[in-house]
């Protein structure tokens, strides 16, 4: 299936459930990692115009931390975490004793490595749950990280996926810590030629 706009309601519901299971596992991993209670927003599986993605994180000119991984295996795609500036600072202050940087622009190797590890853990947990569910091994690549304008990061990640259609299928969820709004946005973008396999593996092809 090359054209995501043909997905049925049932198929979208099934994809949303995938988001639910994947991000549930990722949320537990994050909670363990931070030793805090983490809530999860209800995931969504949407077909949307790629131009709308930056709006989900505050507009294209908003500076965010992006962690990007490739999903590899029989089912492939792209996995992107977008973390607002204050959430990334909170994560760094919590995870690195003595870290007191005031902007992600001042991150050193230790901080970058810590953020990439956060990405690795979340992507790993998400994809593990999906592998089990779909009986298809899925692995994540090494994470790559950048702190920049959300529009620039998204532009780079989706450019070659939207050569023909402007639409992408996106499974999105966010985590919220109970006392503070510490959002992390997770996006899973299946490669167009993997979508059919993904649907088949969950019995809604």
């Amino acid at each position: 299936m090359e054209d995501v706009t043909n997905l049925t309601r049932t198929q979208l519901d099934a994809l949303r459930e995938i988001g639910n299971i994947g991000s549930g596992n990722a949320a537990s991993a994050l909670a363990q990692f931070l030793n805090r209670k983490i809530d999860m927003a209800v995931p969504s599986a949407k077909i949307l115009d790629f131009k709308e993605i930056p709006e989900l994180v505050g507009g294209p000119a908003k500076s965010v931390m992006g962690i990007f991984l490739k999903v590899m295996g029989n089912i492939s795609g792209r996995f992107l975490l977008l973390i607002p500036e204050h959430t990334s600072l909170r994560l760094l202050h919590t995870l690195i004793p003595g870290c007191d940087i005031d902007s992600p622009l001042n991150m050193g190797e230790m901080e970058s490595s810590c953020m990439r590890e956060v990405g690795n853990i979340l992507a790993g947990a998400f994809l593990n749950a999906l592998s089990t569910l779909t009986q298809t091994p899925m692995l994540n690549s090494l994470p790559s990280m950048a702190f920049d304008l959300s529009g620039s990061l998204i532009n780079y990640v989706v450019a070659d996926m939207v050569a023909v259609s402007d639409k992408v299928l996106m499974i999105e969820t966010s985590f919220i810590e109970e006392e503070e709004d510490l959002r992390i946005h997770i996006f899973l973008l299946p490669d167009p030629d993997s979508l059919q396999k993904l649907l088949k593996s969950i019995g809604v092809a």
């Binding site: 000119a61 090494l142 990280m145 990061l153 450019a159 259609s165």
Partner: protein
């Protein structure tokens, strides 16, 4: 207060002074700005990919691809009353936003810049200024009164092209 006209990914827009054409959050895309100083008409093409070959003609959005977007902007500028022989180009963007890893690397930014330059050369449009490549996101405002492109990069001083 002038009118700010945003130009999204894969879009092409032409305007006259006192308007400003703007793009926020440019990554690997290249923004081609063409300007006719005499008539104060300018256009932006927000190019996403280098090459449209292999795409079905009936599904093709020509303003997404360098090889089709550059001649399209050039001709549309002429239709809007710009003097084609007066047009000068400025180029911004073409960054690789995420550092490469073992499993993923991309030259899409560089390829976009090269493809836009090649298309400009075919039309013999001179490049007056550029800020391309690198790894940082960019935002720009194109003042059609002066032809100046104001460039901002996160954490850096604004500069003018």
């Amino acid at each position: 207060m002038s009118d700010f006209i945003p130009v999204g990914m894969g879009e092409l827009k032409i305007a006259r002074h006192p308007s400003c054409l703007v793009v926020y959050g440019i990554g690997s895309c290249v923004i081609l700005a063409l300007y006719d100083k005499k008539n104060k008409i300018g256009g932006f093409s927000h190019v996403m990919l280098p090459d449209s070959s292999g795409i079905d003609k009936d599904k093709l959005n020509p303003s997404k691809f360098a090889d089709t977007a550059v001649p399209l902007l050039y001709n549309r500028m002429g239709e809007e009353g710009a003097l084609k022989s007066m047009l000068v180009a400025k180029l911004v963007g073409g960054a690789e936003m995420f550092p490469p890893t073992e499993d993923f690397s991309s030259n899409i930014g560089k390829e976009n810049v090269e493809a836009v330059k090649k298309a400009l050369q075919n039309l013999q449009i001179p490049i007056e200024a550029e800020d391309t490549g690198g790894t940082r996101g960019r935002s720009i405002e194109f003042d059609l009164e002066t032809g100046v492109v104001k460039l901002s990069i996160l954490g850096q001083e604004t500069k003018e092209l």
